[in-house]
């Protein structure tokens, strides 16, 4: 049971994130939802590569024995970097939206005719 806690955390993070994106009207809260989903997926990847009692996969300074799998960690790093770019882009969009509409309420933006 105790070993399943990371997976439960993954499910919780993704569900909370989805709730934020779907039901929240504030754009910043939607972005927080997206980053929560991202954290959930990253945590899932890291958990997949971990074995109990293993050391970090750095070959030159390893004491030997069981090592955790480095591939998911490499994937997670890439995914985090992409996540930063996406977050920056979304927040800069929000800055422009706020300048234009003076509100962050998703119901009040984008309704006008061109």
């Amino acid at each position: 049971m105790i070993y399943n806690i990371p997976y439960l955390a993954v499910a919780a993070l993704i569900l909370v994130g989805l709730y934020g994106v779907v039901f929240k009207r504030n754009l910043i809260k939607m972005v927080i939802g997206v980053t929560l989903i991202e954290s959930g997926v990253n945590l899932f990847l890291i958990t997949l590569g971990y074995r109990k009692g293993s050391t970090a996969p750095i070959y030159t300074s390893s004491p030997g024995g069981l090592m955790s799998l480095p591939v998911p960690q490499a994937l997670t790093l890439t995914s985090i970097v992409i996540g930063v770019a996406v977050l920056a882009l979304m927040l800069s969009f929000i800055v422009y939206i706020y300048r234009h509409y003076k509100t962050l309420d998703a119901r009040k933006i984008g309704g006008e005719d061109e």
Binding site: I14, V21, L27, M30, V31, V34, I37, E38, V41, F44, L45, L48, V71, P72, L75, T78, S79, I82, A85, V86, L89, M90, F93, I94, Y96, I97, H100, Y101, I109, G110, E112, E114
Partner: protein, 529 residues
């Protein structure tokens, strides 16, 4: 040296071009435009050489930074180019090329063009990488590159609140989609310890987790391809982006559609005939895809009827056109059967025909809808007006644009002798044999599309000359050239459909059914099946 590294160059050339563009912009506007067109031209040459290589010599594999023999396990960046990848790569490279030629005139008065061209080149990189890669994680990375750069381009006109809103919507949708894809990749990696598509396709077992991964991949990619009921971002994004960007966006949407095909036919290709509760997977998927396709066609056409903004109208027509492609592919899926005597898995003749029609329609849709968007951009450029109700009598001022719109109109509604007729006829014929109701709905909606665009043609181009548009002139030559290229290709495809189907579409259709018959995709990587 050059010819050995074509798959890498297809991605590297636009990528380096993108990073050099801001530097070249310091020299001057003209130098930058010429540079970008040259980079796109070079990319097109590389991709066409690669495509030629694939069509003559079969599947090409490429490992970055190392050599590789079939059968070895490699954890590296890995490209695998088969007929389907090559087919999509043609679309992914031709649309941006036309878009940068069009941009020369269309974007002339805008500022911040160095960033604009950088993003277009990055988007091209993402699309080409997306269709060439043979590795699931690379697929995710290229998906994200494409969505980030295209979202920034959708919101290029930041002074319009609506454009930024559309960009925000697009990035939220595509990021969630991409994260679903990553989650599915993790599910597959956790079970099979592999990221390579061919290795995964070889070892996939169709367990409970595989089913979850399949659903996540399909939903995410269908969302990015703009299939109803996940289409709400598409009209906004297509409608608010500059027309040249919309043209490239069509390519990005279709690259996601390529992802759907790759997942269904290659990754799960082995398991398509596996039965779940006495219903085999291909029938299940077929019912699901055809239902979505019919909804997409009907909703797209009906929404197009009630729009008054020209670009939104074309965007809904684009939604409907995507429906036609997946209708054909979904119908083809249902015809997969296992011969009880020989044990050979195969499609019926009408299934093969539907597959060809659906794939042919992908390239035709890119051209037809693309041409209409370029014409809408030209009208906007000349009149600064997007509402159909306020436009009129433009045929007197803009002769060439009128002709191009007429060509696009006939092509999109499937009228002979345009290319849309060729592919839609294949779709009607084959779906009629599979289930007549599908063909009836498809034809009916096609006629409605014709009605939509004839109405537009009448109100925008015909009628008396309006005093407001008395000084309206024909658009610059570069825009006419871009529209002319597409129009010529449309007419050419319409007159010689056999040539295109046999030389470009057939290899792609063979690549789709490859996992059912020969498994060459797996063989190219593992050496054996």
């Amino acid at each position: 040296m050059f010819f050995d590294n074509l798959p890498a160059l297809a991605v590297a050339v636009p990528l380096f071009g993108a990073f050099l563009t801001p530097l070249v912009s310091k020299i001057g506007d003209r130098a930058r435009n010429v540079f970008v067109i040259l980079v796109m031209g070079l990319t097109t040459t590389v991709v066409f050489l690669l495509v030629n290589d694939v069509f003559t010599n079969g599947i090409q594999t490429y490992v970055f930074g190392g050599s590789y023999q079939p059968g070895e396990t490699v954890i590296r960046i890995f490209f695998e180019v088969d007929g389907l990848s090559a087919f999509m790569a043609i679309i992914a490279v031709v649309l941006p090329l036309v878009a940068v030629i069009y941009s020369w005139g269309f974007m002339k008065k805008e500022t911040g063009l160095d960033k604009y061209y950088t993003l277009i080149l990055l988007m091209t990189t993402g699309m080409i990488g997306l269709v060439l890669t043979g590795d699931m994680f690379n697929f995710f990375v290229f998906l994200e590159i494409t969505s980030i750069s295209s979202a920034a381009l959708v919101a290029f006109w930041v002074n319009k609140g609506k454009a930024v809103d559309a960009g925000f919507k697009y990035i939220v949708i595509s990021t969630i989609g991409a994260l679903f894809v990553l989650f599915a990749i993790a599910l597959l990696y956790g079970q099979y310890d592999a990221l390579n598509m061919a290795v995964l396709a070889n070892s996939i077992q169709y367990t409970f987790l595989d089913k979850m991964a399949l659903v996540l991949l399909l939903v995410a990619l269908a969302m990015k391809a703009g299939i109803v009921p996940m289409h709400m971002w598409l009209p906004d994004a297509y409608g608010c982006a500059p027309s040249s960007v919309t043209l490239v966006l069509i390519g990005a949407t279709q690259a996601s559609l390529y992802g759907v095909f790759r997942v269904v036919f290659t990754l799960y290709g082995r398991e398509l005939t596996t039965a779940v509760n006495q219903v085999s997977l291909n029938v299940l998927l077929s019912v699901f895809i055809v239902a979505l396709a019919l909804a997409t066609i009907v909703v797209g056409v009906l929404m197009a009827l009630k729009q008054s903004n020209l670009k939104r109208m074309i965007a809904f027509a684009a939604v409907a056109e995507i429906g036609y492609m997946i209708l054909a592919v979904g119908a083809a899926l249902s015809t997969i059967t296992v011969d009880s005597n020989t044990g050979v898995t195969m499609l019926t003749e009408s299934g093969e025909m539907a597959l060809k029609g659906g794939l042919f329609h992908i390239i035709n849709d890119a051209l037809d809808i693309g041409l209409l968007f370029l014409v809408a951009g030209a009208i906007y450029y000349a009149t600064r007006e997007t509402s159909v109700n306020k436009l009129g009598g433009l045929a007197r001022n803009m002769k060439y644009t009128t002709v191009f719109f007429l060509i696009g109109l006939l092509a999109v509604s499937g009228m002979p002798p345009m290319n849309g007729f060729a592919s839609k006829l294949l779709i009607y014929e084959s779906t009629y044999q599979i289930n007549p109701i599908l063909a009836v709905i498809a034809i009916l909606c096609s006629i409605l599309l014709l009605a939509v665009f004839v109405k537009v043609f009448h109100s925008v181009f015909l009628g008396p000359k309006l005093s407001v548009f008395k000084d309206t002139k024909e658009v610059p030559k570069s825009m006419l050239l871009a529209m002319g290229i597409i129009a010529i290709v449309i007419v050419f495809f319409g007159i010689f459909p056999e040539l295109v189907v046999n030389n470009i579409v057939q290899p792609a259709a063979d690549a789709l059914t490859d996992m059912l018959k020969n498994g060459l995709y797996v063989k190219a990587v593992l050496g054996v099946i």
